[in-house]
Every structure is written in C-alpha cells, then in structure tokens.
C-alpha cells in the first residue's frame, strides 16, 4: 500500500478514535447533581437542546462534555471577525500569540456557557461539604468540571485537525445525524406525524434537496483577474465569489439568536405586555415571528459573506499586488465593482437560504408540522457542508501523490 494510502487510513482511524472518545465522554454524568431534577430544569429550555444539536453538545443533560463544540465554534467565528477588523495588527503577531488569543476567547465563551447551565440547574445540586465546614463545594466543582470538559473538547477538535480527517467539525457529526429524526418529529415544538405517507414525502424531499444543495454548495462566480506581476501558462487567474459563502453557518446560529428571547422570557417567568409582544415576534408559528427569522437568516448570510469576501481589503490587496479586473480601475472602482457582484450573489444566495429556512415555516402555517422541515433541511445542509469538506480533505490526502501523466 502506498505511503499515502497508509497515511489516509491512519488519519481515518485517528478520527474514528476521537469520535469514540468524545461519544464516550457524552455519557459521563456530573457526580454532584440530581440527574432527574437537572434534566427537568434544562429541558425546560428548548433553546439549549437546539443549540446542542448543532454543536455536538448535550445541554439537556448535565454531563461532563455538555458544552460540546459551541465555545470552539463561536470562538472561531469571533477570531475571524477580529482578523477582518484588525487585520494588520493581528497579522503581526506570532503563531503562538494568535493561538493564545483564540484559546482565550474560547475559554471566555466556555465560562459564559457554563454559567448559563449552572443558573438553570441551580436547584438540582447535591451539596458536597468541605470536610469540617459548612462550605458547599458542589457548584464550584461542577463549574470546574464543566469548564474542563469544554476545553477538553476543544483540544480533541484541534488534535483531530492535526492528525485526523475532517478538521474540527467532525465531532458534531454523530449528534447531528442522531438528532435529525427527532428534529423532524418535534423540532420546533410542533409535532410532525410520522405516518408512512409522511415518510415517503420526507424521503423524496430530502433526496431532491440533498442533490440540489450538494451542487449549489460549490457554486461560485468567477471573476477573471489580470495579473501584471506574474505570467502563467497553465492556470488562469480568477477571484471566486461563492453563492453560499456562509455555508450552513446561518442555520447553525439563527436558531440561537431566535430562541434567546424565548429563553429569556421563560426564565424570568413574568408576563408583562412587552414580553408578550416579544414572544409573538419570536415565535415560529406567527407571521411576525417568521419575518423576524427571515431577517436574521438574511442578516447572518450577509455578515458571513462579507467576512469571507472583505471587498475593501480585497480591492486594496489587489491594487498593491498589481492585479486588476478588465476595464475596472484598481482601488475604489474595483471595490465598488466587487461589492456590486457581492450584492448580486448574496441576493441569490440569501434567496436559497430563505427557501430552505423560511418557506417551510410559511407552509407550516397551513400544513401542520411542515415547519419542522425548516430545521430539518437546515440540518441536512449542515451535514452536506461538513461531508463536502471531509470529502475534499480525504480526496486530497488520497490523491496526494497520485499523478499520472496518461490519465
């Protein structure tokens, strides 16, 4: 077996091992908590469950690895944002310093999440007394354990990037796949009957959707670039603007954004007038809520897209490197040109996102249960983007030294 295939299998084995360890950790309960009470408290917050499904955590149950990948993934996005906003200073740091910053943000986010959980579960703790005193150590210990679990997950994800296949998101896969049927059935609190007819419909829609999205995920606009300081024969130059630059990110985070107000009102309990309005506007079952959701999805789509393209930086960079687009002045005119292309592509891209996320909700106003498709399809899309990435990586690895002049 060529060394490359060996490497591939070794990496695959490593990834499987990492997933196994992670899944194992998902069954280690926190020792100082009354499980049933905690579960009751946590499941009262549907927001947690939704988050957990998309980030490989298990916030409905008090376990060591409850935090899942959420701190890491959010931190990744924040770091990207930092990179965008403060590109020059960030670029001047050494790799080590950049690593520390990313870790620091992850830690901070993990702390926030742990506190969230502890607040909700506060009634369910079994006190652990410091010997000889009346100091209850249950909560501090729980805090440390949960935090450690979160950072452990982060470390696992990094290790997988280095030695395995699929980077960091592979850890999400098992819980994603496992939770999909559940999501379809009951995701947004509306039940979707699983009769045979329904299942056939689901299969058909899913298959069609899968094929279409797998194709659309790769779609990009290629703007031909002219390069003045290079002179290449075999590779034309172009700048890609993806149709769906954010990938499935809006779906991973829109639910969080959306459900936060509901969570907020749920915990505070009071039912004042303005809170009722808030609930209306953040419910999946009202047209007001659907509109809000649509706005959030579009907003996230644009935000992620901008972070990916960064037209200002791009135009500046092009000018400095001597590259240009035919018939467009470098500098401001190029920036305007890129922005225009971006708006156009984003328009189409966001339309696609709306079709996935909002159309089912709209249909759900008439056909009960159809609303669940919104989350369901979103999950499929997330799955597609993850599998696509893994596939590309694996392909690259498999093919690394397979060159054949006569193929």
């Amino acid at each position: 077996m060529s060394s490359n295939k060996r490497l591939f299998f070794r990496r695959l084995a490593y990834t499987l091992a990492v997933i196994a360890v992670y899944q194992l950790g998902q069954h280690v309960y926190l020792p100082m908590v009354n499980i049933t009470a905690a579960q009751r408290a946590l499941s009262g917050v549907p927001f947690f469950r939704l988050i957990a499904m998309t980030t490989g955590g298990q916030m409905g149950v008090p376990m060591l690895l409850s935090l899942g990948m959420r701190p890491y993934m959010t931190a990744m996005i924040l770091v990207q944002a930092v990179q965008t906003v403060a590109a020059d200073s960030y670029g001047q740091l050494s790799f080590k310093q950049q690593g520390y910053i990313a870790r620091g943000i992850t830690l901070a986010l993990a702390v926030v999440q742990v506190v969230e959980m502890l607040v909700v579960m506060r009634q369910a703790f079994i006190p652990i007394w410091l010997p000889g005193t009346r100091i209850d150590l249950a909560v501090p210990i729980a805090f440390v354990l949960l935090l450690a679990g979160g950072m452990f997950t982060t470390w696992l994800a990094d290790e997988n990037t280095q030695h395995g296949i699929g980077g960091t998101v592979v850890l999400i896969l098992p819980s994603l796949i496992a939770s999909m049927p559940l999501l379809l059935q009951n995701g947004l609190g509306v039940s979707f009957p699983l009769t045979l007819v329904h299942l056939w419909w689901t299969a058909g829609i899913s298959a069609a959707f899968f094929l279409i999205m797998a194709y659309l995920n790769q779609a990009e606009l290629r703007i031909p670039l002219q390069r003045t300081l290079t002179d290449i024969t075999y590779a034309p130059s172009y700048m890609p603007i993806r149709l769906l630059p954010a990938g499935a990110m809006p779906f991973m985070f829109s639910a969080a954004f959306f459900a936060f107000p509901a969570f907020f009102t749920a915990t505070t309990g009071a039912r004042a007038g303005w809170q009722k309005v808030l609930v209306t506007w953040t419910s999946f079952n009202t047209w007001q809520g659907i509109t809000t959701y649509a706005v959030i999805v579009i907003g996230l789509g644009y935000a992620f897209g901008m972070m990916n393209l960064q037209p200002v930086q791009e135009a500046k960079g092009m000018r400095k490197a001597g590259d240009y687009i035919l018939n467009v002045h470098p500098g401001d005119e190029t920036e305007a040109f890129l922005m225009h292309q971006f708006w156009v592509m984003s328009f189409y891209g966001n339309t696609v996102l709306l079709l996935i996320g909002v159309l089912p909700l709209v249909i759900g106003l008439w056909i009960p249960g159809a609303a669940n498709f919104s989350q369901f399809l979103g999950m499929i899309y997330i799955l597609i983007s993850i599998v696509d990435m893994i596939n590309q990586q694996a392909g690259a690895l498999w093919n690394k030294d397979r060159y054949d002049l006569f193929a």
């Binding site: 024969t233 018939n327 060159y403």
Partner: protein, 781 residues
C-alpha cells in the same frame, strides 16, 4: 577519548588498515552507530598525525552530536572544520553520496584540500565539488564524474542543487552523475535551511519572446508625480497607480483606456516599471556591475549570481538602469534547499547560532539543536544597544568610539545594513581621515584578503552582513591585550540570529572582544515594522532637528523606557513574518515536490525503456491527444479538423479525403478511430525509415523532449501559482489546499499539452539517414 592511548600506540599502517576493517564490518551488516567510537578514535588520531591538530573534547562532543539528525551549535572559531572530519569519515565509509556543504566555493575548496589529506591518508576519496571561480554550469571545467564518485565531497549548496537539477535534464544515463544521497553535513546550517530556505534554485532557460515595451514603459513612468499619479504604502514595499495616474498614462499613450484587453501587455509593463522604480532600490535590493543587474541576498549581503526576478521584473530593472536587456527566461527546473536536503536520509548541521530557531529546525527538518560548550569560556562583552532618532545622529555617535579604538590600535569591524550604507560609512571615515577596508557585494572577490587583514593592529573594516559568516578573523598577537576585536553593528538585521552571527566574530576561542549595536529610527526594519507612534515621533523629531542644526554637540541616544523594546519588537515582527512565509513555502513545495518526483522518475524510466513498453506509452499519448482535440472541437468544420491533422499528424494529408468522407464529420464516434488510424499509419511510416534500435532512441528522445518542454512550463506555472493562491486565502479556504487543487489542475492541462507535443514530434519530425555513417539527423517540427 578513553581509547586515546590505544590508538596513539598504533602504527601508521595499522591505523590506515582500520578503514578497510570498518568497511567490511559495514557490508557485513553492522550499524553505523556501532562503529562510531572506534571510527572517531581513528580519525582523531589521524588528524593528529596528518595535520598536527588533535580535536578537543568539545569538538569530539560536537562530532558525536552531528552523527545524525542533530545540529551542533558551536561558537565561531571553535574549530568546526576539524570537528567535521569525524562524522564525514564515519559516513564516508559507506561509499559515495556524502556531502559537506559550506557557504562558498572558496571555503569548500580550501577545506577539501586541507582536510582531504586526512581522508586520503585513511584510504577514502575526497573531492571538491564547487569550481574555483564559483561558476556553475557545463563550461566551468569541473569533472563531475570524478567529483561525484568520491566518497566525500566538499561542495556548496548552490553547486549541489544545480548539479542535481542538471542531472535531471539529462537525456541519457551517461549524463547523470549524482549518486543516491546518503548524508549531508551543513555548515552554517541556519543560513542554508532557514535564511535561504524559501529561495528556490532555478535553472532558467527557454527564453520567451522578447518584449520591447520595457524601455517605453520606463520612460513613461518617469513622468509621474508621487501622491498624484501613484502612491506608496507605509512600509514602502508596495506602490500602485491612482486613478489620475492611469488616466494620465492613457492620455500619454493616446489610447482610450489602459485597462482593456488590447492594452493588457502595455499595462503590465507599466505596473512593472512602477514597481522597480519606486520599491526596488539600487545598492539595497540589487547592484549593477559589468553592465548587468545582480540581485542581492538580503540576509548576507552577497550577490546572487544566476538568479533573476521572474515574469519580466528583471528586465524592467534593466530598463530602469539603462543596461542592455537580457532575454526573459522561464524556470526550467526548480528546487528549494528545503526539499533538496530533505531528500537526504541522514542530515546534520553546525553553526554558531541555532538555539533561537531550534523549534523551527525541529518542526521542519526533524533536527535537534544541541549547544556545545566552548573550549574556553567566552569573555566577550556585549554592550547594550543604543538607539538614535536619525541615521545621521547614529553614525555621528559611532565615530568617537571608532576613533578611540583606532588610536589604541584595537581592530574594529563595522557592520552596515546594506551596500549603500557601507559606501556611505566608508565616505564618512574617509572624511575623518581613518584608513579602512570596505567589504560588500561589489568587493566580494577580495573577501578573503580583507577578512585576513581585519584582525590586524589598527585595522578598520567596514562591511555589510557578509562579514557575519565566512573565513575566521585571526587576531594579531598583540590584539587580545588591547581588548580583542571590537565589533560595531550599525543596524539590526531581519533576525536576531543574523545579529548573533555578527557578535560571534568577536571574542572567539576565549579571547577578549566587545560588541555593540547602534540603531536608529530610520533603519529599515523600523520603517517597515515599527508601530505608528514611532513613525510620528520620527517625523516630528527630524523637523525639530533641522530647526536646531548644531554640528558640534554629540547626539544623545534615546533612553526613555518606551524606546527600549521598540527595536527588538520590530525585529520579532520581521522574524515572525519570515517564519510563516517559510512555513507556507514548505507546504507549497510539498506539492511541487510530488509532481517533480513523478516526472523525474518517469524520465529515468523512459531513458532506458525497451521498445514494447515505450510503444504502449505512446499509444496512450496518441489517444490522449486525440481525445483532447475532440473534446474541444467536436462539431467543427472540415477546416479545423484538417488543420489539426496537417499540423499534428501528417503534413501531406489531403483535405479532399475529408470532403469525400463528409459523413464522418457528423458521426463523432467514427471520427476518433479515423484519426487514430491516421496517426497509426504515420507512426509506422516513420518507423520504417530507421533501423529498430535507432527508432527506439528517436522515440525516447521525442518523449523526453516533449516532457521536458511541458515540465518547464509546469515549473513556471507552479512557481507563479504560489502568489496567485496566496490571494485566495480568504474565507476558510486553506491556501495549501487551494494550491494543491490548482497544481493538480495545472498538471492535467500540462499532460494534455505534453501529449500533443509528443504526438506532433513523433509523427512530423523529418528523419534523414546519412548513408555513410548511419547517423540520423532529426529535424523537429
């Protein structure tokens, strides 16, 4: 060392017989590590007897460290040359393929001659690999056959690299000389593996069509005004046109716009002219000598012979300097030092400065750095840096120190940041009436002489960072009494390691010495990487200074605490940048390496391939060429098809046949076998003209030639693809991954190109057999 007495007692003949014994043991299967101790003892004793120098304990320690996969960090002057004899002998026992790489040809030749005596005495063969004049190429008078069949070769990295590349351009095995790589010992390993790592060795050739727009563009650029027609970036490394500038030039050339398709070439040349006029500075980035433009190696200030900037930039510089334009060439073969040395199964190195970059050496090459204590403890004094606001103040501050040292007859070595600074400083010293030597890229030929004099009483030497590495500076006997060599650095270089190299020049072997660095806010690294408040301070200060110009008072160094770390920080930023660019080069080069490996091994196989397998390959080649044509031009006219046939298959084909067979055009499926049959017929016709073995040779030649031509384009493409992909590193796209994808795509395009070339050359070459001698003349299409 314990065996010292035993070995000292052996007779000459006995000692020499040891070699044979070791070689027998090795061929019987003993591991190299097992015979290390007796082998080292042998060489140590031989050193004593042949050269009269016995290695110190510290040197033996270093030698053990260097036996494999380690870097011995040993201060300059500790006797690295002698120490190297031990591991070289050990590995030399295994036969050819062992190299000791030094920085320049002079050292390689000198050491081969000196240390060579020991090896020869012990029965191994030694050769010097680099030519005396430092030239490489076919006409440099070296006998490559003799050189590379020796057990131990002393050579330079450039010579080895180029010879490797040239080996792989050979058309027959007889022209290949390099043995399989066994062991390489790198002197100044940090310079070779780190500073020079990202620079590829390129064999240029295959000139492109010459453009005549360079001078035209250069003239136009000179008409522009800064900030109106073009702008410079803050770090002065980039420059670009403003809209006004582009419009102005469009007017100048009387065209509606410069940015459309027809004007692409013109615009390209203008951008290049802009870049070379305002970001590349003479005597800093390049020198002009003998009516030619030479690039400078920024880390050591030396001229880079044989290296040119790509894509026409070099020609743009030539136009700027009004020097005759040289042909624009392509990269025909390329390899980076990183990849060259990673091909050695065993690698070791020695240098005076490696600890600062130990992590990188470990990660990239798997080399561990081991510091070797000095034989005598170092009593060098490193005085703290002094920072000045302007270059002028800095230079003025160094003068009293130089004067005082000179008055005491203490030798001084002054390092400057660039060729032009060294010249400037030299003029200042002339003004002061201080006699001195000047060493920079322009006076490189006299390097040995200048360095030899640098340690004399009362010597003053002004040099660029060239002075950091190379021949040792020997001190006159009276000099230690005066405090040893005084090294003054007038600029911090791009990494602390390079600075430490310079410091190492003073105080070797336990002798006294002193070093001090003087820096200013106007130094290059400060301009490029200092924080914004420093820039503001500098601008504010120079305005003030001009207002109170006083010639007599001695400038004061800046001592406020905020200044203390500023220079070190700027250096760190530069270092980090270099590290990440090296890292990225490594990643990219991995892709390059795999393709290169495939092509080179294919070449090797084809060179000796028998008729049958070669014919099978050619079948595939023809198939590919036809498939590609049909894929691109499926339903086109008789004209296009006929064109293809005449230009690639059969020159004497009659178009009539196609018109008669008109129906063929509509039935795609039949077109392919039709073309294949035509090609086959032509192939047989060619084969009939020559006897079998000669046709085989012809086929091999055709294959290699087409492959080489296609590979040249591919090398060029891959090389330039690196810059292209860097731009795509936005939005979660891994640049390495993108590079691999693009490189793969380019490979596919190249293989199509290759197939077409090969087919054309196979079928259309004219073969003339000379009846008398039986030799064949081939005229390629």
């Amino acid at each position: 060392m314990a065996l010292h007495d035993d070995y000292a007692a052996m007779t000459d003949a006995d000692l020499q017989a040891q070699t044979k014994q070791f070689q027998q043991q090795l061929s019987a299967g003993t591991a190299l590590a097992d015979i290390l101790v007796p082998a080292y003892a042998t060489v140590a004793e031989a050193d004593q007897r042949v050269l009269g120098m016995r290695p110190y304990d510290t040197q033996i320690l270093g030698a053990v460290v260097m036996a494999d996969r380690n870097v011995a960090e040993m201060k300059t002057g500790e006797g690295k040359t002698l120490m190297a004899t031990l591991p070289m002998y050990l590995h030399g026992l295994t036969g050819p393929g062992n190299f000791l790489i030094t920085a320049n040809a002079y050292l390689a030749n000198r050491d081969a001659a000196q240390m060579g005596r020991v090896y020869r005495w012990l029965g191994l063969t030694v050769q010097a690999g680099a030519s005396a004049s430092g030239q490489t190429g076919d006409d440099d008078g070296r006998d490559k056959q003799a050189i590379y069949s020796a057990d131990i070769v002393y050579t330079t990295n450039g010579a080895l690299g180029f010879d490797y590349l040239i080996d792989n351009l050979a058309s027959t095995p007889a022209d290949q000389y390099i043995p399989p790589f066994q062991f390489a010992l790198l002197d100044e390993v940090d310079a070779v593996l780190l500073d020079m790592a990202s620079m590829p060795l390129i064999i240029s050739g295959a000139p492109r069509v010459q453009s005549n727009l360079y001078t035209l563009a250069d003239d136009a650029i000179r008409l522009l005004t800064e900030d109106v027609d073009y702008e410079l970036s803050d770090d002065t490394k980039q420059v670009w046109f403003t809209d006004h500038g582009i419009d102005f030039l469009a007017q100048y050339f009387a065209v509606p716009t410069l940015l459309d398709k027809p004007r692409r070439a013109l615009y390209r040349h203008l951008v290049m002219a802009l870049k070379v006029n305002f970001t590349l500075v003479r005597d800093r980035d390049y020198v002009v000598a003998d009516n030619q433009v030479y690039l400078l190696d920024l880390s050591n200030g030396r001229k880079l012979t044989g290296m040119k900037l790509e894509a026409g930039l070099h020609q743009a510089i030539e136009a700027k300097e009004h020097v005759p334009l040289t042909p624009q060439t392509r990269a025909m073969a390329s390899i980076t030092f990183q990849n060259l040395f990673r091909m050695f199964p065993q690698l070791a190195g020695m240098t005076g400065t490696a600890m600062t970059d130990a992590a990188e050496l470990q990660e990239t090459y798997g080399l561990q750095v081991v510091p070797i204590p000095t034989h005598k403890p170092s009593i060098r004094v490193d005085r703290p840096d002094q920072l000045f606001p302007t270059v002028r103040a800095k230079v003025a501050a160094t003068l009293p120190i130089v004067r005082a040292a000179h008055a005491r007859q203490q030798p001084v070595l002054i390092e400057t940041g660039s060729v032009s600074m060294s010249v400037l400083y030299s003029r200042v010293l002339l003004n002061e009436g201080l006699p001195h030597n000047l060493l920079n890229a322009r006076s490189a030929a006299k390097e040995a002489q200048i360095v030899a004099e640098a340690g004399r009483l009362g010597a003053i030497t002004v040099a660029t960072s060239m002075a950091g590495r190379g021949t040792d500076i020997h001190l006159d006997p009276a000099v230690p009494g005066l405090g040893g060599l005084l090294v003054i650095g007038t600029e911090r270089m791009s990494s602390a390691r390079v600075d430490n190299q310079l410091r190492g020049r003073a105080g070797r072997q336990g002798y006294p010495g002193a070093t001090q660095f003087f820096t200013s806010l106007e130094d290059r690294i400060m301009i490029e990487h200092a924080p914004k408040w420093v820039d503001k301070f500098r601008l504010h200060y120079t305005a003030q200074e001009a207002a109170q110009a006083s010639g007599d008072t001695l400038p004061q160094p800046l001592v406020k605490s905020k200044f203390r770390r500023v220079v070190a920080k700027a250096q760190k930023v530069t270092q980090n940048g270099q590290r990440s660019s090296r890292f990225q080069t490594l990643q990219f080069d991995e892709v390059f390496r795999l393709q290169r490996q495939y092509i080179y091994s294919l070449r090797d196989r084809v060179m000796v391939m028998a008729a049958e397998p070669l014919n099978a390959l050619f079948q595939k080649v023809l198939g590919r060429a036809i498939t590609d044509f049909l894929a691109d031009h499926s339903a086109e006219s008789v004209g296009v098809l006929g064109d293809f046939i005449i230009n690639h298959i059969d020159r004497h084909f009659r178009l009539n046949e196609l018109i008669v067979n008109r129906t063929l055009m509509t039935r795609q499926k039949e077109l392919r076998p039709y073309l294949a049959a035509l090609a086959q017929k032509q192939w047989e016709k060619q084969a009939d003209q020559l006897p079998e073995d000669q046709f085989l040779a012809f086929q091999r030649l055709v294959f290699l030639r087409a492959l080489d031509n296609a590979w040249i384009e591919q090398v060029d493409t891959l090389q330039q693809l690196k810059t292209v992909v860097g731009d795509r590193a936005r939005g979660q796209r891994d640049p390495t991954f993108e590079y691999q994808k693009e490189a793969r795509r380019a490979f596919r395009t190249m293989s199509g190109d290759f197939a077409l070339r090969a087919m054309t050359q196979l079928l259309l070459s004219e073969l003339h057999v000379d009846p008398a001698s039986g030799s064949v003349d081939v005229t390629f299409p």
